[in-house]
Amino acid sequence: MLIPEPVQRLIDALSRLPGVGPKTASRLTFYLLRGSEDLAHELSEAMGDLKANTGYCEQCFNITSADRTLCEICAHPKREASVLCVVEEPLDVLALERTAGFEGHYHVLHGVLSPIEGVGPEDIKIAELLERVQEVDIKEVIIATNPSMEGDATAMYLRQHLLPLGVRVTRLARGLPVGGDLEYADQNTLLRALDGRQEMG
């Protein structure tokens, strides 16, 4: 055995992470081996906590710490509970929160419909969303799934099931990105941007 077992174990584990190959994994491992005791301890503690001390918000399924049933956003007294923003992943909540432009609540689907990959409505948190809309007084559901084929399919599915519940259903606008160039826009995006043009003045 060229490399001692504890070292090899960490290399193997690290190289299973996305974007990390065997070379990067070895470099990280040997850095930790040589570096100060603190970093290795801090990392191992943080990783242990990651699974043990987190859970999902009972209402919106965003990630939250394990000691609470509602996440900070759902528990916040000043946020508008009657407007829901539906996103694919917890990271999308972060992206929207960074804008500081949305004051409502969220609903995290944890995935997106994909007929080809065999991901159906029962595989993501759609039933929970429909239930939530029926139980709580909700005025508007903003669908913020990605503007991809799967995101669109999910949006259409949600629309079909939300409209009969008598709630306003909207979708994030799509159009030209900030700093973009018309010349490189695809037909779909340009058409949508034209359709969704806005009055100036």
Binding site: I116, G120, M149, P177, A185, Q187, T189
Partner: protein, 257 residues
């Protein structure tokens, strides 16, 4: 491996995409020139990507590819036809997904099949217009099987080689064709097929699409054709397809609402 140029242009249809690395997309594409390939579109998940809108599934696209170490790299993309109406209706999404899934599962990387490429483009185009989708995909099934060398025998009993009489028959996926009732009853794995369904399959096999679309198929025969074809395809692929259950669900919910 034959020597290939570092960079070349292909005409392709995007079959699948999946997230790859930080902001890249891994594409499965079917090209006119080189059959199925896998290619990386770097940065395609970034909002400001110039490529992203051109490489969504079902898009007919012109791509400039560079030969990377393991995979091809998309350097330019320009949509020829986005078939955008395929993405605006859930049932059509289901049918288009079926079309690309079955092609993806039947083909191997780097195996050129230009007629199959033409069939794919035509089928997606038909689905994006107002053609009867059930008919479009059943015609596609039959043509695809032809082009891949799995043409089912529909005129002679595959057990006795006797001419098929105009009565209800059986279909054996393992033997690749129709079996007369006399031999079919006892044959393991043979499924019943009505004479109406069989006539439509024969009609699709010998006719142009234009002639095939003249057929007005009763809903229960449509269901039967779907079941028989799915049975045959599942046998050939040795695994099930993902899209039929999605398709059944969205169709059912459409009818209910």
């Amino acid at each position: 491996m034959p020597r290939q140029p570092r960079s070349f242009r292909v005409e392709a249809v995007i079959l699948k995409h999946s997230d790859f690395g930080e902001a890249d997309r891994l594409l499965s594409i079917f090209t006119r020139q080189r059959g199925k390939l896998r290619a990386i579109a770097k940065g395609a998940r970034k909002m400001r990507s110039r490529k992203a809108g051109h490489i969504e599934p079902f898009t007919h696209v012109s791509l400039q590819l560079a030969t990377g170490r393991n995979l091809y790299i998309v350097t330019q993309a320009e949509a020829i036809d986005t078939f955008s109406s395929l993405r605006e209706d859930l049932v059509r999404v289901g049918y288009a997904s079926y079309v690309v899934e079955i092609l993806d599962k039947f083909t191997y990387d780097e195996e050129e099949n230009a007629p199959l490429f033409r069939l794919l483009i035509k089928t997606l185009s038909r689905l994006s217009q107002d053609h009867e989708p059930e008919l479009v995909v059943r015609y596609y099934d039959i043509r695809l099987l032809d082009l891949l060398g799995f043409r089912p025998e529909l005129h002679k009993c595959v057990v006795s080689e006797a001419e098929i009489k105009p009565e209800d028959q059986f279909f054996s996926a393992a033997l690749g064709g129709v079996v007369s009732p006399q031999h079919g009853k006892a044959l393991e794995g043979a499924v019943p097929i009505s004479i109406e369904a069989l006539k439509y399959l024969r009609h699709f096999q010998r006719s142009s699409y234009k002639d095939a679309t003249r057929a007005k198929i009763a809903p229960q025969v449509q269901r039967e054709l779907e079941i028989v074809m799915q049975h045959y395809v599942t046998y050939l692929l040795e695994r099930g397809l993902n899209t039929p259950s999605f398709l059944r669900r969205v169709r059912r919910e459409r009818e209910e609402s």
